[in-house]
Subunit: 348 residues, 2 copies
């Protein structure tokens, strides 16, 4: 007999994204021993003898995930690959293949589709990723793209959100908040343009911020460098909806708490100055900005010395017992409970 | 140096779907030995030691792929799984996992999302498929779904579009045209409803046609029965855009021609009668109707006797040399060159 699920009608936003995913996912049963992960990981892990494939699919919808008024199609193509493979990298696996689906309306020319796929190809070529499938269909409402990324690893190197333990070091790659700051600049220029289409924006001094928003790179280098120094993180996740959301998600999966120091958060000087000019506190953006596509991971204390040999990694705090929650120690020594914001919010 | 692609702006429809896929796909380079197929197959094949994974991703967009005015969400969920795994089955592999992405606008309640995923779960449970990943995002324009299906096979059993040889038998599973006929009925009732919302349609006598449209089944049984009788097809593909399109695609990949006999085309009696009442020739719909999700495959002549032990398979013709093209022999013994119609058209 099938069990009917009859929940009372609640607002979807009440549950939050991860709450809803959990609720819906619990209805499904597992039938195959090769299905190694539950749906709460960055990507699906599927066993094949001694190796595992790691698979993730990402959906990109016009005016939700991108705005073609300021996003060049070539950059968009590049970014869709980066975003899809980011989940593979977050499992400590190297991305090997992508499968691409594109839905286009008839307002797009062949040239436009070429631009988009050229951007995809550039990212694939740069990181040695193969196009394993491509499908096209029509759309009435705009551009929709799905990129499914496939990577390979083995049980020894596979890293998941589950795995962080008390006293381990909490690390993040690169810097935080730049992509969001780039988005704020682009949105501001869009508004200026709508009022005065002849105004030519000069955004040259902000090029780092725009690049982080428009054409982020997958952090293949970080997992390669960790492997070179012999460090296997004990847990890892992709920072896509802001550091706070990623951290809370990782700690929940690992059943631990954490402490993060505000003065250890890696914020680029240009990000800091640009946000300051807009009267925005950079810590807020570093914690909740989104679209960083950096790696948040934990390493054992014993790896602290070896970690110094890996470029572009900051130790931002450490793991505590679960009851401690997730605490930010501010520059003026106050302690604040970290909360994730927006649709990425993690409810209890 | 990167090569720039600068095609002249042509209408996308000029190229056709497969022409465009081919053009765009050619720009990408392969870097990994594990990428076994090019993008022209039903699904991507990725090697892992002795086994291969077979992966396919399908995008479903509201008002392009489904119309919620007459498609119940539970059926839609079921069908998205069927359609995604159909490409895995077409490679002679058993589907094992799915990864689901859903974009929903705020007009959907939790109950609606539950209905949709319940339908997905039913199909997964029935065919032993595991949910390996689930992601949700918001949408402004309606419901968009991606289902990525993963299956497993080995080099010995893998079947592709490439492989058909002269004199081999051309076979198709199930019957053709019923799903399209069901769609015509639903579209007709929708128009009646728009004029007179109080009119209650009575479609009970057409339930087989509606089920074929709304809730098609993946043909796992066919590949299981072929394996039981020891038959490995020499080539195979999924009949999703009509038999003619599938056949031309398969023959092009295999560099062969074919002959199909009109009187061998499997058309269900209800499909035939219903189309006749609408003054539509059933052969046209059997060839071009779309959404059958049946299997078109070739077997060696020596397997003819064994094939009789596999239920729900019709031999509809045979393979000829490439120069012969793809010919339909009509009931009155005329010979007509087969053409694919619509966006699925295969251009030279």
């Amino acid at each position: 007999m099938e069990q009917e699920v009859n929940p009372k009608v609640e607002e979807l936003k009440e549950l939050g994204k991860f709450g809803l995913i959990k609720l819906l996912g619990e209805k499904f049963n597992h039938h195959n021993a090769s299905s190694l992960t539950d749906i709460n990981e960055n990507a699906a892990v599927i066993a094949h003898g001694n190796t595992d494939s790691v698979i993730s699919s990402k959906l990109f919808i016009e005016n939700i995930h991108f705005d073609l008024t300021y996003v060049p199609l070539k950059h968009l193509g590049y970014k869709t690959i980066t975003v899809a493979v980011a989940d593979i990298i977050a499992m400590n696996a190297l991305p090997k293949q992508v499968i691409i689906n594109i839905a286009i309306s008839n307002r797009f020319s062949l040239e436009a589709v070429n631009e988009l796929t050229d951007g995809m190809r550039r990212c694939c070529d740069r990181y040695g990723i193969d196009l394993a499938g491509l499908d096209l269909c029509s759309s009435q409402t705009g551009l929709t793209i799905t990129v499914t990324a496939v990577g390979e690893t083995d049980d020894e190197h596979l890293v998941q959100r589950v795995g962080a333990k008390e006293n381990e070091l909490l690390c993040v790659s690169g810097d935080l908040g730049a992509a969001y700051t780039g988005l704020v600049l682009l949105e501001r220029e869009k508004k200026v343009f709508e009022v005065n289409p002849n105004e030519q924006p000069n955004l040259e001094e902000f090029s780092y911020l725009l690049e982080r928003q428009l054409k982020p790179e997958p952090r293949v280098d970080i997992i390669q460098n960790l492997q070179k120094t012999g460090i296997t993180p004990t847990s890892m996740t992709n920072v896509c909806d802001g550091l706070a959301s990623a951290l809370i998600h990782l700690c929940k999966a690992s059943k631990v708490g954490s402490v993060v120091f505000e003065n250890k958060l890696p914020v680029d000087m240009l990000t800091f100055r640009t946000l300051k000019d807009m009267n925005i506190v950079s810590t807020t953006i570093a914690l909740n900005g989104g679209e960083d596509y950096e790696l948040l991971f934990t390493v054992a204390q014993k790896d602290y010395e070896a970690l110094k040999g890996v470029e572009n990694v900051s130790v931002i705090g450490y793991i505590k017992e679960e009851a401690a929650g997730n605490q930010l120690i501010t520059n003026d020594d106050r302690q604040i409970e970290l909360k994730a914001q927006g649709f990425g919010e993690v409810k209890e």
